[in-house]
Assembly symmetry: C2
Homo-oligomer: 586 residues x 2
Amino acid sequence: MSISKKSDQTELDALRHSAAHLLAAAVLELWPDTKNTIGPAIANGFYYDFEFQHPISENDLPLIENKMRELIATWDEFKREEVDLKKAKEIYHDNQYKLELIEQFSSEGKTLTLFHSGKFTDLCRGGHISKPNKELKYFKLLSLAGAYWRGNEKNTMLTRIYGTAFFSQKELDEYLNKLEEAKKRDHRKIGQDQELFFFDPLVGKGLPIWLPKGTIIKNEIEKLAIKFENEYGYQRISTPHLAKEELYLTSGHLPYYQDSMYPAMVMDDGTYYLKAMNCPHHHIIFKSKPRSYRDLPIRLAEYGTVYRNELSGTLAGLLRVRSLQMNDAHIYCRKDQIKDEVKKVITLNLELFKIFGLKNFWFRLSKWDPNHKEKYVDEPTNWEDCQNILREVLAENKLDFIEVDDEAAFYGPKIDVQFESVIGREETMSTIQLDFVAKTKFNLSYTDNQGKENNEIFVIHRAPLSTHERFMAFLIEHYAGTWPVWLSPIQVAIISVGKEHHNFCQQLAEEFKKTNIRVEVDDANETVGNKIRKASHNKIPYILVIGDKEMKSEELAVRVRGQEKLLKIRKKEFIDHVLKEVNDHQ
Amino acid sequence: MSISKKSDQTELDALRHSAAHLLAAAVLELWPDTKNTIGPAIANGFYYDFEFQHPISENDLPLIENKMRELIATWDEFKREEVDLKKAKEIYHDNQYKLELIEQFSSEGKTLTLFHSGKFTDLCRGGHISKPNKELKYFKLLSLAGAYWRGNEKNTMLTRIYGTAFFSQKELDEYLNKLEEAKKRDHRKIGQDQELFFFDPLVGKGLPIWLPKGTIIKNEIEKLAIKFENEYGYQRISTPHLAKEELYLTSGHLPYYQDSMYPAMVMDDGTYYLKAMNCPHHHIIFKSKPRSYRDLPIRLAEYGTVYRNELSGTLAGLLRVRSLQMNDAHIYCRKDQIKDEVKKVITLNLELFKIFGLKNFWFRLSKWDPNHKEKYVDEPTNWEDCQNILREVLAENKLDFIEVDDEAAFYGPKIDVQFESVIGREETMSTIQLDFVAKTKFNLSYTDNQGKENNEIFVIHRAPLSTHERFMAFLIEHYAGTWPVWLSPIQVAIISVGKEHHNFCQQLAEEFKKTNIRVEVDDANETVGNKIRKASHNKIPYILVIGDKEMKSEELAVRVRGQEKLLKIRKKEFIDHVLKEVNDHQ
């Protein structure tokens, strides 16, 4: 359980928000004509957004940081002062951003408060450390970015300065090391370096183009998911990427979700949308024929592509894209089947995680809040029963989980699987969501064992491997580009010493190909050393150098990734060895 | 070669167009207030479009046909008469359709001609048989349909009557038998009956939804294509379903092809379109890194989905859809590699056709016309050289082919593979197209063996298995729903005699599943006879009935599709037998 982390987080947030004040103070000392706006704590640090009157660059960060260290000595407290609207407006008469906040807070009936520290004052709601000059020592400014005022692209573009702060040098160092590691593992960098995917301005933002090597990995992951889903009794389906607006009016995605959907396309027979989710299509398949209690559960699976209209400025590598291939499935079952189905979904998840060597994860059970009934579908018994079922499954399987109130979806409680990535980022990778709304919206039903039509169909939405895009980003970081053999786009590199060895290399490659080993011959007119360096840089698991000696030998001399010593092995045994690794997902 | 068919066709067209006159004459005799419009010969018959003043139904067709037989006795010729605009307008003063045609022909400077036969007269350009009362005997009216005047959905919806005619009773009977057969093999009927796919009004027209059984077949076909493409050195890629308008302006699809594309979607960073073809995306991948002469040919393959904005009224089952998954690939090569590459593509095609038992096909080489240079890219040497290469490949491989002038694409000559379906419909299933325009439009190039940048990149577009949608429609008809074992959604049906045999059936099914045999247990509370009939109706290749005797026996008693006698076989042998069939694509 990670509850203990939570209280630390409140203190860390106070430290970091205090650091944001200090950052603003330093900037205003250095460039008094700057307009400061807001500076919150965020997941791993803090930021402050400014309107600078002259452009600054990352080169200015050390200067600002030095000024921060100079000023902090004089900050012995954050002194709170309540002010009235008039005074607040006077103080910020030349800062339209603060004026806008003052008007808003005032109209919402909030008390306006200032916080004074040293010679610096900021309009702020509070949440600071009590002894800044004692506690605020271990901080660092990290980067610059553009950010629209209040996140709205119609507003002025401000300059955001990011930083972080900790209570000890050790923690700060650890975090900075993780950032260094993150840079090395950056999925965009490795993706480009290994020729996995790219983006092209003619094709457009947020639309990854998968190159041959990336497609191999993507297809292997998909094959794995399909293999498991077959074993677990899922049926595969294939649905169009579009639907009429009537479908999304039925599902309720329109009009509520419209902003996240691609723009409408008006055709001669109605208005069409690219799908932003697969569920409505799957419900249509469930409804396509009468279902009996004996048919349930029905598990419909599809690596369906969905489309989200994200603002172009927010798109980032594979982590935020506009076209997502989901490892999606929907399970239609009776209430008495929920427990068993959720258990199976979790088992399937755990089996997949094991294959990818994923260990740092925990479960989060998101529940409704009976005090905020307006946010949730009005089926109190189903809420309580289903939450109990989910809790039981987690507890009986001795899984590490936390419970959070008022975080469920409108349609039912859910279990998210939270991962801590190798670089310390927490993210939701998998999700298992119960849905009691679909049955009503789509009028789903089955004939029960009394021969009666029964509307109590529960839908489980599940996606163990997230989207291809997110999961690939995660895996690239996770493996730092050193793919296990079964995922390696090239498993064996064959390097010819001279021209006279080309044919032999090609023959050898053909032999490997016939066993489905992915092999690449490098017969370029370069030195052997150079060719080995290239193959090593590309992290190819096995390298064979073929010269006169090797052509005559009974054994192959294999350079194994990460090992110094050559492996001497007969060809047949080597092939069996590689195939076994692939089969075992190693 | 099918050139001889062609002259027959001209005579058949004259016969059928004459039959259309006769149809109009009969309709006007029966309902004089009807407005007749046009009545051409078409591929397998003829039609005439009418505006009826009262609705008619298929039940009226025998009545019309009888009237036709009555009238034809009085038709000894088609007498031609030239008329001036004024007279023509007088004759048709109460028929706005004919008036529209008269105005149009007149404005185009065409001679206005009437054809008289018996008491009937029609405005017509000619093309009739000379002795209608002798030759026009073997005809039949077939069906009714709605059709917009001049095919434009903004115009009035007319009633179209379809019919056919032949020169002998035998040919007519043969054709009507083929139609009967076609009805039995109708891919929409079998698709629904076998639960392969369906359309749903909420999802929209022309967007097939693949059910589990249809998805199995579709995936098996895709797996086969991928297996072959892997063997032939294709690299798989995966590209987004969208692109910015800039891509299609570069490719030239915009504005020329815009009407066939889905409507534009305006996003915050530009205008996007659903892709109507995969080539531009593939060219972008080719361009994504420098290419050397040693890298060529590069073969990029993708079962890419493309989208066409067809009018909703023209959509028909899987044969005309709005979303198409193409068995697509693009080969980038030097001129000296074209011959070998085209040869390999054809070999790949033939190997695939053989697996599906496709025999009635021939090749069509479509060439440019040097007299119509304005229709073709201006590279005369490439046209002549490439046409010669294509002809050589066809001739050297002793393939049945015809050559047609002035039928090439703008960008280069092509080879289409024409199929005659089991019900006699001719269609283009596969295509191999050379393209010398892409290199210019996308500025494709490679570094040649002199180290120089060379722009002479030839692109081969190829799609042996057409689109999934067309190919599935074709195969459903081809097999009449009796899928070979490797494609059968269910390969083995296990039928339990009583409740006490359910567990044994399930265990047996699990054993089969582990070997990847697709199996379904029918343990419904029905008679064995009924369950066998269901499985036979679903054309399941193997049926096992499990009762007391079978549970004790060392051997399985297998009902083999299409065979009377039970096959007695040990389980292990049976599994091996099925797996061998799957492996051999039987």
